[in-house]
Every structure is written in C-alpha cells, then in structure tokens.
Symmetry: C2
DNA sequence: ACCTGAACACCGTTCAAGT
DNA sequence: ACCTGAACACCGTTCAAGT
C-alpha cells in the first residue's frame, strides 16, 4: 500500500470510530468521508461495504474476546467464566449502537465481511458453554447459536434507552436462565 | 371527514398494511403513497408521522391484547395466563419487522403516537405478572417494564433470520426465567 | 376541505476524469 | 495507484398552487 493510501486508510478508520460512536452503525458514510477530508470514492476504495468498515473497526476487539475466553477457561469456574465472558461481550457490543442487528445478519451470510468475526465469537462462546454444561452448571438444551442469540438480545436491550437503565438486571435474569436448569428446561417444550 | 378523504384514509391504511408487511416498519412512505395512487402530501395529511400511521395500523390489535389479558386473568392459572399472553404478544409483534424498536422508543416518548399503546400493553402485562407473583409463580424482582423489555427482546429475536428458527426455544428459556425463581434471582446481584 | 407534486436537503453507490 | 467529485436513483418532509 502506498504511503498516502495507508494514511488515508487509517485516518478514515479513526474518524469512523468517532462518527459511529456518535450516530451508531448507520452513520452517514458521506459524513465520515467529509469529516475525514477525503473523497467519497476513497472511502469506498478502502472499504467497499459498510460491513468492511465495521470489520476493520471491530476485528481487534473480537480477537481479544477469543483470547479472553481462553484465559477464563483455565482461570475461573465454568459458570463464572461463561457469565463473565458474556457480560463483557454484551457490554462491549452495546457501545456500538445497531451493531447487533448487523452481526445477526452477518452470521448467516458467508459473503459478509463480518461473517468470520461472528463465527469466531460463536466458537469462543460455545466452548465456554460446553464446559459449563459438562459439569451440569448450564442447561443442556442450548447450543452456541442460542448463546449468541441471547447475548445479542441483551446487547440490543442495553442499546434501547427504555431498557438500558435495567440492563444489568435483565442480564441477571437471562443469565440465571442459562445457568440454572432445575427442571425449568422442559417448560412448555 | 369528507367522503373522499375518508376513502383515501382507508385506502392508504390498507396499502400500508401490505407494504409494511413486505418491507417492514421502515418501508418507504413514498412507495406507500405511490401504490395507493395518492399524492405524498395526502399521506402526510392523514398521518403526520410514521408512528401515526403505525398507530392506526396496530391500535385495534393492541386493544385486543388488553381484553385477552382480562379473559386470561379469570380463565387460566396465573402462570399459564402470563406465558400464553406473552407468547401471543411476541408472535403478533414479530409479524411487523422493526416495530419493536419503534415501540421501545415510543414507550419513553409521551409525544409519540404509539405511546398510549405501549402503556396499555405494559399495564395489561403488569397485571398478569403481579397475579403470578402474588402466588409465588413468577420471580418477584421484576416489574412490568422488565416484562415489556423481555417481550420486546423475544420479538426482536423472532425477527432475526438468524434466531427465528429457534424462536420457540428461546421463548421457553426466557419464560422459564420469568416463571421459576428458585434462588436464581440473586445471581451476581 | 382536501389533494397534488415540485422543491429542498439529505442518502448510498458508481465511475469518468484527473494526478 | 490512488484520489476526486459529479451523477444517478432513491429517501423524508414541507408547502405553494390548485380543485
């Protein structure tokens, strides 16, 4: 990559981070290019789709969650590890308004630039879940996709002004459903 | 209302129902006006905001949920009544893609045309919840707003292609969290 | 009273023209 | 190689002009 191109690439990314933090994932790409002092075509050259931009913005953090899962797997009890990890994922995700909708769609779309990140997250979560399940600490009628979905739902709730104040409480309600299985699993099955 | 105006009003509503079923709550208003064979200004005259249009579209169904709650309150056991009602609300809401986002926002905004409908729903749910709580069948650390939030989250999940196939299962997981309290409530409180 | 559609200020996306 | 910005096809919203 040419030096000027690299500079543009990184500057766009920095500006995008600010603008998306402000206006959410649907922020105007025109606005980002404008505030970056760059032509609209330049933004599209570096990030051909909105998801490509998001991917560049979030990849590092997603990788961190994978290593964090590995650490928790050896450092904490299975149930604590699962819940702590879930809490961090939800908290991080809720910093990017609207990103959960994009992630949920990207998980099903192999063409999406965010697809790999979704699978990465699901894999990390699945391992923590399976470990808790193996010790009878998590309900067995759940898989990694269910965990992904519940995490997404919690992040979505954290992003709604209406439920954000009670986000912690809603988290604990759903966490208790995941962790304790005591005959609740066959309810209206 | 003049006869021609009334005819327009109702025709717009009918077309909107179709278009919104097809493209979700963010459907193009221009498109609705076009397909209704009506000027864009006419649509705005009858429905000054998108939420006013949604309100006209959904009010009847929301009222039904209130009467349905009243019936369940005398016809079923407290836990069955709560869960059955919740299930119907979630199922209905998930027919209108994106409406949960609008509802969550409208609940906090007294100026929204949908605000009253939100409060109506919350009130109906709160009564069913309180009745179950009074008999020890639902966790006590929850209020009507929490119930509203969980219902919204479930409807949101039902709307995501990624989680829709497991929507029933996710419903039962969260329902079990609401219904059975067995010491799970103080988890990580 | 009610209806119409042009006008305005925004989008996302593409692509010919420049350096 | 890379950048620019005009061009195109869409929006939501408003409002002067018509009947």
């Amino acid at each position: 990559m040419r030096a000027d191109a690299k500079k543009n690439y990184e500057h766009i990314l920095a500006v995008a981070n600010v603008v998306i933090a402000e206006h959410g994932v649907d922020a105007s790409l025109r606005d980002i290019a404008r505030r970056a002092g760059v032509g609209l075509g330049t933004l599209y050259r570096h990030f051909p789709t909105r998801e490509a931009l998001l991917e560049a913005l979030l990849r590092a953090s997603f990788d961190e969650f994978t290593t964090k899962a590995r650490i928790l797997e050896t450092a904490s009890s299975p149930d604590d590890a699962l819940v702590s990890w879930l809490r961090e994922v939800v908290e991080f995700t809720s910093n990017y308004q609207g990103v959960v909708d994009v992630m949920m769609a990207a998980k099903e779309d192999p063409e999406s630039a965010l697809h790999a990140s979704c699978i990465t997250m699901r894999t990390a979560g699945t391992k923590l879940l399976a470990r808790a399940q193996a010790e009878g600490l998590a309900r067995i009628d759940m898989d990694g996709d269910d965990l992904f979905s519940l995490a997404a739902a919690l992040a979505w709730l954290s992003n709604q002004p209406s439920s954000a104040p009670r986000a912690d409480h809603l988290f604990s309600i759903i966490a208790s459903a995941i962790l304790t299985n005591r005959a609740g699993s066959d309810f209206r099955a």
